[in-house]
Symmetry: C2
Subunit: 351 residues, 2 copies
DNA sequence: TTGAAAGCGCTAACAG
DNA sequence: CTGTTAGCGCTTTCAA
């Protein structure tokens, strides 16, 4: 039994406002506003107002409310790219938690470009977000310091920066796992396809990797380190550059992420080198496609990180102090790092 | 030489408003408002106001403006999941075009759940978006009809629905390409791992596939059709169900997307069947990882679709009528569909 | 409890 | 071209 709505001149059903409710109930607009923020069963008036609201299909206008309250009921997330499935996953988790708490999430992607980062954050701010989830922090503190100076609650996720609250994986430990595993598999000649060097995460992973090797008196030769970014294309290019030189390695760690590893694998295959047989390849993140790819990789609890980040940010908005989280990674061994017949001619011997 | 800002009691620098500018220039607030919407060199006043704005670091408050104008300077996009890299790509392209035109983009993901679809669209609407890019349309018209009835400019992308403006790939043609290719490769026994049946797209691909086979008097046996969704996990499950029965097929088309194909490949490998040697597998979309995976697939110009969708929506907001686009797909042949030695024992013969 | 009134920051008539 | 005025829909003092 819906009560007919007022119609504006052009025939569009006008969205009911507080005023509409006031007219229908005979109460004052401010009374309505108050009643609506109470539980429906808080008082007879509240009950009346809520049922009227329901019948008329009233939905509060968050932008009008936020103009007045200076809060928006929204949180902002800035990612480097949603095309990175790990970041997309984080977003979806953040969104889920936020919605469960009555918040909306606005996302923006920056492509890790410092200018875009600032523009996008300002955009979110101008839309009045109550807090920020930052998934594209850089190693040099500038960006994050700027965020902190804004005076808006924030939390970093996936990437960390010293002195700032962050929910991330213990990447150093992850790198160590990779190094130890490859050593155990019998490898002795290691290459590294590094992530972007603005990313503390990739840096830490590489450090862990190097540390594990160092314990066995092994180091990664300088000419066996190449940048590989975070994408298939950049990973592929990195491996191609590696292959252009002497091919004296039997194992490579793609510290950026699994996509970079996919790219590396693709370059290896193109060069007639069989990943997992001729050269071990290890990635990072354990995205869904890694299984089909038979890629050995380090699993970090990405989804949980996203949930935690949202939870902590919401708490921070309510005045709590975020507590940093360092999650434990685990190694997922698949065919791409199968034990090599070490005595076989090394790839490098070909040249 | 920044003029010192007013400081609010707590020491936070107060954001300058039109009033601040009015005080500094001695002009009236409405004059400021107007001048700001003109080019800086439109008049002496405009120049004055713009430079004052710059010095004070003024940024217009879009939420206040939108309260007044009933436009938000934002467009909304609803995706089924940003975890689907194709949808994420579309989002990034839409965002890029929108930003270039002075618009922001708000995204929301619905998981293809009808209730979530409505909730999320209402959310975007309550944030006052000026138009909608819908990337999660369903085959049954309900959702899209509802959108259309809203009276807000909209355009569908990636998925289409008869009678509504959509920017999509010619999926039927894509399915045909797959069928023709596999026939040429010498296959005669075909399976189908279908996409979700709420997706017109997957449906069309399957139809095209079947049509191509039919021209050679071949049809896909009923027991060789399984649902495979849009994710690695669901694709894998689909293939597992297929393998549980008689294995009398040498080629399978995963109509959902490449991820479903990755899942199928993973299931094949787990069963000791070599994709590309024992069974041809073909996907759809040509995501970046497909190359490393050596997956034969159909490339659709996803990025272009995203750009077009944004362009058309922006035009529609300005009163234009969107013109549907049907982009031509192309087949990317890789190792996963290598010519089989057809006379070899068929997989099905094992049982 | 409820009502009256002011105002968030901006834009859009309408006058001057 | 500029200033006056009103008001978008909501919340929040302050009185009654």
């Amino acid at each position: 039994m819906p009560i007919p709505l007022d119609n504006s001149p052009d025939g569009q059903a006008a969205r009911p406002t507080l005023r509409t409710l006031a007219e229908h109930t005979g109460l004052h607009i401010s009374t309505i506003s108050r009643a609506l923020r109470q539980a429906p069963d808080a008082s007879p008036t509240a009950a009346l107002v809520h049922s009227a609201a329901e019948q008329l299909g009233y939905r509060r206008d968050p932008v009008a409310a936020s103009l007045r309250t200076r809060r928006s009921g929204a949180i902002g997330m800035v990612a480097h790219s949603l095309t990175d499935i790990a970041q997309a996953l984080i977003y979806e988790q953040v969104d889920q938690v936020a919605v469960a708490h009555g918040y909306d999430v606005l996302v923006a992607a920056t492509g890790d470009d410092p200018r875009a980062q600032r523009r996008r954050v300002e955009l979110l701010l101008s839309r009045r977000v109550d807090g920020l989830v930052i998934a594209d922090a850089h190693r040099d503190g500038e960006y994050v310091e700027w965020i902190a100076a804004l005076g808006v609650p924030y939390v970093l996720v996936m990437r960390s920066s010293p002195g700032h609250p962050s929910i991330a994986c213990d990447d150093y430990a992850g790198g160590r796992l990779v190094g130890e595993h490859l050593i155990e598999q019998g490898h002795r000649d290691f290459a590294l396809i590094a992530g972007p060097d603005y990313s503390a995460v990739s840096w830490d992973r590489a450090e862990g990797y190097r540390a594990a090797l160092a314990e066995h008196g092994i180091s990664v030769a300088e000419h066996l380190v190449e940048a590989g970014g975070l994408h298939t294309t950049t990973g592929r290019a990195g491996m191609e550059r590696l292959l252009d030189r002497r091919r004296d390695f039997t194992a490579v760690f793609c510290a950026g992420n699994d996509f970079a590893a996919f790219g590396a694998i693709s370059a290896l295959k193109a060069a007639g080198i069989e990943p997992g047989t001729d050269v071990a390849v290890v990635g990072f993140n354990d995205v869904a496609a890694a299984e089909a790819m038979e890629l050995t990789t380090v699993a970090s609890p990405v989804a949980e990180l996203g949930q935690l980040a949202a939870t902590q940010l919401l708490a921070a908005i309510d005045g709590a102090t975020p507590t940093p989280v360092r999650a434990e990674p685990s190694l997922i061994v698949r065919a791409s790092s199968a034990t090599p017949l070490y005595e076989m001619p090394r790839v490098g011997a070909l040249r």
